[in-house]
């Protein structure tokens, strides 16, 4: 059964290929069957593999399948090989399953779009790339999947390419993540150069054997890989692409920019955890990136008016939690939060997609309202997802995973009180912006009439995800046990805060956010506007709205100097050398071609003249 592992990336890839080649000639229903069917098949295979893996785990805790050697140059022998352990198993099952639900949802959401088959081809290719990334046995294959999802992300963000803004958003995502990818590539060179292999397991073993704790090479490798991770996972300082990435179709946002792709960075760090254990400085950097990102993104989410941008910032913030968990050594907690986040964030995006489509592609939450009765399915599922996101105690999945992260932060030798408090403030912000969103969209007066109600193919996946967002957290105990087969267990130290205390404080932060949101946006709707009336408040609002001015900063710091330099060098100084050579050559060519008169006597005269000169040289020498 485990031998079928290769089918998990192969089936979606075949689907993508099929749709890319014959897709435009197929009817919409056939495209939907192929596109969704391939993901369904991959999901079934991955679930079967998961069942097999859990019922009779391999002796070493991992299963490796080598298909063939990709490149063979000396000791550099990366293979097309897959590696399955508890970590990649969880990721693959969640990715394929959530992807399946989103594909199912898309069959209705994208109905009537002229790029219907193109959309499904991209989505299938994305899933194939993502699964390759997750199952890769070596870092080179992982990099292939990494770039594959980057490509698909670009294609899907700019899916409606006729609108220039979407194309620019796609380019931005591609270029910004490229900065991180370059760092990661350099990191791969560094690892291969120093440890002589790219197979992840050998690499981890070699790093463990050759590098002392805190050695500069380990720190450098850790920081470079972190660079790749922050690019793909939209963390500080490369998070600016994700909010703009909302230009893509909503299922794309759900699939790529919330549930799966952006967690690739989390996966990468968890996969190479040995390097970070050897480099406490790099690991601390991971934690700092996480905490800063989650706070900044939380603030920004509070000020957005576009429903998808609110969710985008919440995604950045939640991945910040995962990074925080990785940074404090709670590897299992990070993956656990990945799983619950995949459920509730996909749910939130899909539910918001229903709302957006119901209101004629209206994204502004201030023009929504009172949808509680109009769209009950969307409301209840969105509520479930929102509660999970904000961490409603005891009954939602998000509470369990986030609580685990907060408790680990408090009790980690790397973490401590400051990070813990930061995380708690993050909970407060999460609760605030989540309920602001829910209250503005679903409560109050109806501002835009509902024109379109979702069918079962859109409602069904949303309800399944809602159920998972509620019950997904109850597997916490067995999940942690499973994770210990692939990742090192969490070492408890530090503050000694008990789980009960941590949970209680988090619950209080959640409740506080809920109450404040209720007070501001339901009881006193004018209050928020009044806060912005003050010059300081307006400034803060603008600052947060523009994502702490990061885009402005990058524009001034990088884009404009580059454009300026490009303008100066419009005529290309270096090119003028080659142009000059060409011009000289052309001149000589014209001069030489003048001698070609086509007249026989003229040519004969040249020959005679040449003979005269040659003989003269013979005579004189």
């Amino acid at each position: 059964m485990l031998g079928l592992l290769w089918l998990v990336p192969a089936i979606p890839f075949a689907g993508a290929l099929w749709l890319a080649v014959v897709g435009p000639r197929l009817r919409e229903r056939a495209v939907a069957v192929i596109g969704t069917g391939s993901i369904a098949a991959a999901t079934i295979v991955s679930l079967l593999i998961g069942a097999q893996f859990l019922s009779s785990p391999p002796a070493s805790g991992a299963y490796t399948q080598t298909l063939w050697t990709w490149v063979g140059v000396g000791t550099f022998q990366p293979g097309i090989a897959f590696y399955l352990d508890a970590l990649s198993l969880v990721m693959v099952v969640v990715v394929t399953f959530v992807s399946f639900l989103i594909h199912l949802y898309s069959t209705e959401f994208m109905h009537g779009d002229e790029g219907y088959s193109r959309f499904f081809a991209y989505m299938n290719l994305f899933v194939a790339s993502m699964v390759t990334l997750l199952l890769a046995d070596n870092l080179l294959l992982l990099y292939l999947g990494w770039e594959g999802v980057g490509l698909c992300s670009y294609l899907l963000i700019g899916f409606w390419y006729k609108d220039t803004v979407n194309g620019i958003a796609g380019q931005k995502a591609f270029i910004v993540t490229r900065a991180g990818d370059t760092a990661m590539a350099v990191g791969l060179y560094l690892l291969f150069h120093n440890l002589g292999t790219l197979r992840i397991q050998d690499l981890m073993q070699a790093a463990h054997d050759h590098w002392a704790v805190g050695s500069p090479l380990a720190v450098a490798a850790g920081l470079l890989l972190l660079g790749g991770a922050v690019g793909k996972s939209a963390q500080l300082p490369l998070q600016t692409w994700l909010p703009d990435a909302m230009a893509g179709p909503t299922p794309t946002s759900a699939l790529i920019h919330a549930a799966t792709m952006v967690t690739a960075g989390v996966y990468l760090i968890a996969r190479t955890h040995v390097v970070y254990e050897l480099a406490p400085a790099a690991q601390f950097a991971v934690a700092m990136v996480g905490i800063l990102t989650l706070l900044m993104a939380g603030c920004s989410a509070l000020t957005q008016w576009d429903i998808k941008r609110v969710l985008a910032y919440s995604t950045i913030s939640q991945i910040g939690y995962m990074f925080l968990a990785l940074g404090v050594g709670a590897w299992g907690a990070a993956i656990f939060h990945f799983m619950t986040h995949a459920f509730f964030k996909a749910l939130l995006f899909l539910a918001s997609g229903i709302v957006i489509e119901a209101l004629h592609h209206e994204h502004n939450i201030f023009r929504m309202g009172g949808l509680r009765k109009e769209l009950p399915v969307a409301f209840w599922t969105f509520l479930a997802g929102g509660c999970a996101l904000a961490g409603l105690p005891l009954i939602t999945a998000g509470f369990y995973s986030k609580d685990l992260i907060l408790w680990s932060t408090a009790n980690s030798p790397i973490g401590g009180a400051l990070l813990w408090v930061g995380g708690l403030i993050g909970v407060l912000f999460t609760s605030l912006y989540t309920f602001r969103l829910i209250f503005l969209v679903f409560f109050g007066d109806v501002k835009t009439p509902v024109s379109h109600r979702p069918g079962m193919t859109m409602g069904g996946p949303v309800m399944v995800l809602a159920a998972l967002a509620i019950i997904g957290g109850f597997v916490k105990g067995s999940f942690e046990t499973l994770m210990t087969t692939a990742l090192p267990p969490f070492h408890e130290a530090g503050l000694g805060v008990s789980e009960l205390v941590s949970s209680t404080v988090a619950g209080v932060a959640f409740a506080l956010g809920l109450v404040v949101a209720w007070y501001i946006w339901v009881l006193h709707p004018a209050l928020a506007d009044q806060a912005v009336e003050f010059s300081g408040g307006r400034l803060l609002h603008r600052f947060w709205f523009s994502d702490w001015g990061m885009d402005w900063l990058y524009d001034r710091l990088l884009v404009r100097p580059l454009v300026w330099a490009a303008t100066i060098n419009k005529n290309d100084v270096i090119d003028s050398i080659y142009d000059g050579i060409a011009a000289v050559t052309t001149t000589f060519y014209r001069a030489a071609s003048l001698t070609e008169t086509g007249k026989l006597r003229w040519h004969a005269a040249w020959i005679a003249g040449g003979t005269v000169v040659t003989l003269a040289i013979v005579m004189l020498l």
């Binding site: 005269a605 005679a608 003249g609 003979t611 005269v612 003989l615 003269a616 013979v618 005579m619």
Partner: protein, 190 residues
Amino acid sequence: MRARPWMFTDFCREGKMIAAFYTASAVAIIATILMLTRVNAVHALLHLIVSLLAVAVILFDFGAPFAAALEVIIYAGAIMVLFVFVVMLLNLGEAAARAERALLKPSAWIGPSILTLILLAEFLWLLGHGVAPAVQVVSQGPVEVGMALFGPYMLGVELASMLLLAGLVAAYHLGTAKSPRSEATHASHS
């Protein structure tokens, strides 16, 4: 002949040969100049034949009877017949001669004459150095030439035969390409 001692009859014979050389040279040069200045192609051809025959005499003088015979047979015979045929085929006539006369203006002669005079001066200067002024002629008959041709120059003979074959093919092609039928087949091939 090689071993024979020097005798008076030889002196007389040599004197005749030297006289023949100078006479033939003068004839060759004058005939060539006349050929160059003719406007009628047939007249020019006749002068050319005279020039070639004079050169044949010089060749014979210099102990190359075989080459002299071939000069008469092939140059003055076969090649000139080809020229005559072509001139007859073209049927140039009086109008062509008038056109030629118009082209042969004195100004057309100046540039080439200067250039070739320099060339000739260079030839003379080069020949004036390191060349034995006179030498005893030892005749090289067909036997010696044949031994050399099919001995050390075997490869050259083969190459010459290939060249003649190529010339044959090219002449055949140029001669037949004009008929409409073959042009049609050309078109269908290409």
